[in-house]
């Protein structure tokens, strides 16, 4: 079972949801079953006390009502709370997990009804939840049978949102200056930011290097890049001016990388026109 799942939302944004672990689901379930038992005991006491102190013509009807209410508590607890708390029960709220639809939208009555009315199959052999546990462990998104039927997944909900954005702010400024550290696309492949860094360093320091060392380094750095920009590696390798040709390749690569960055930085504000969009 993987620990996260990516969902494309109606805004065409991909959100990463962290799947709820079996442990927190088990804990939530135990809490909920505890509540159910307490509710049923409370109802029983209420009925007992009522019958103890007064017996009237209403008593048979109250008893009948109690039978129905107990039944509704037993079978409807999860359905009721998952519907009104959009995917949560008291136990799920306590453990910070929530049921959502596979497409990322919140669940409604339909999903809550399906996943909870077939719960008995997942509980097999009751109340061990063995079948549901095995199915959920085997599924990449941790779905028990009821989840599959309802089209739902259970995710972890994290509320500590007020976090430190210092590194995010620094990144925003780098993007603003067109210096984001993303890979750069060349005509026949991509190179990573760290490779660009090496080229920059070399071109800056090349004048200080002994000629032989300089030519050798230029060859080592440029060799894997020659074909990426459409050059002829064998011709350069055989050339007496190998070092010089390689330095020209490196300069070309750097030029292309700078152009790509400018394009990315310039395109961003056009793509989104939200207020406060600075890029």
């Amino acid at each position: 079972m993987d620990d996260s799942v990516s969902i494309a939302t109606p805004d065409h944004v991909t959100l990463d949801f962290e799947l709820a672990g079996l442990g927190s689901r088990l804990a939530a379930m135990l809490i909920d079953h505890l509540f159910i038992i307490l509710l049923l005991i409370g109802l029983g006491l209420l009925l007992g006390l009522g019958n103890l102190f007064s017996f009237s013509s209403a008593t048979p009807w109250i008893s009948a009502l109690m039978v129905i209410v107990s039944f509704l508590v037993f079978w409807g607890y999860f359905l009721f709370f998952e519907t009104i708390m959009t995917g949560q029960t008291p136990g799920k709220r306590a453990t910070g997990i929530r049921v959502i639809r596979e497409n990322g939208l919140p669940i409604g009555l339909r999903e809550a009804a399906i996943r909870n009315l077939v719960r008995i199959a997942d509980m097999l052999p009751p109340p061990a939840y063995l079948l549901g546990g095995i199915v959920a462990s085997a599924d990449a998104r941790g779905r028990r049978l009821g989840d599959m039927a309802a089209g739902t997944i259970v995710v972890r909900e994290r509320f500590e949102l007020a976090v430190d954005f210092a590194s995010g702010a620094a990144w925003a400024e780098r993007v603003e200056r067109g210096q984001s550290r993303n890979a750069v696309t060349l005509p026949r492949g991509t190179i990573s930011p760290s490779q660009l860094g090496v080229i920059e360093q070399f071109l800056k320091r090349r004048a200080d290097l002994p000629p032989e060392r300089r030519a050798e380094l230029a060859w080592q750095i440029a060799e894997p890049l020659i074909e990426l920009i459409g050059g002829d590696r064998r011709a350069i390798a055989a050339s007496p001016n190998r070092g010089l040709l390689c330095e020209r390749v490196l300069a070309d690569v750097l030029d292309m990388a700078r152009q790509t960055r400018r394009i990315v930085a310039a395109a961003a504000p056009v793509a989104t026109e939200g207020p406060g969009s600075l890029f």
Partner: protein, 341 residues
Amino acid sequence: MTTTQTTAGEEKQRQWTKLAADILRLAKAGPRGLRSLSGAVLSDLIDRYQALTADLARARSLGASPSTVDRLNRIAVAGHNLLYGHIGASRKAGTRKDWIGAFARAVRDSIWAVALSAGLLFGSAVASYVAVQAYPELAYDLVPPGFYDFEPTSDEHMHEIPGLARPLVSSSIMTHNIQVTLAAFGLGLTAGIGTAYLLLFNGLTLGAVAGWLSAQGRSRALWGWVMPHGGTEMLAICLAGAAGFLLAGAILAPGRTSRATALRLIAGRALTIELGVMFMLVIAGLIEGFVSPSGIGYPARIVILAVSLAAWAAYFFLAGRSRSASPARTFGESPESASGA
């Protein structure tokens, strides 16, 4: 130049932090939080959420640190849950569902499952009815011991329940039967094995009890008792079995989709049937608690059976036909923007 760039980063940080705080506050306030906002404030919130999702997309593609992506993602998820949290309600408000016709249509669309369920339930009942009459000693294996020496209170029906106990009897029977049908429905997920077991077990027991009482010369009392509620009750259990087999069908023969997808596609129809079954059992429970144990005569019991069966037949054959072309067919079949796999 440096000063404006510093402001850019700080401005972003300020926006993110403020949006996160707003979302957190509104999410904690629940559904009322969002509803209390004025139109202008709400649309500003949506604009800021969309700006954040744009930042998130750029953070992913323009190499922000994983921690920045993670934090933006977390705010976006919370904002998404907040803003789309009540889509379910508005989705249903738009179209009026034909609830009454939906159950009949779901049953009509599932003839194979209904036939299979009926075959198991009624087939086993008839078999054990015949078997117990031919070999009464079988009854000691199949009939609950309470029926061995059962003495009906009258020739017309088996027992008279005092008026005071009727509400409790009625509600107990109702909830018990609904529980059985919920099991028959849910256990469809065991590839139908649990559903088939329940249908066979109930059919065998009912048939054996009927066979035993008939062999004891009590058949008139038995049928007098069973007739008022029995038609509705047996039909409901049969349909619950069909709902279970629909789920089983998706697991055993998913067709071209994955089993999980097949299950998701059929589950709405199966749920519609199960909800209808529960309604039928409420009616049957009321009859079984208040009418069957009353003093009404034998002809009246026959009439109730005939009327109830005719009513159900008419309902299942006729209801919901006129709108059969409408796309909204069963329980909440939502317009899927689905991510299937």
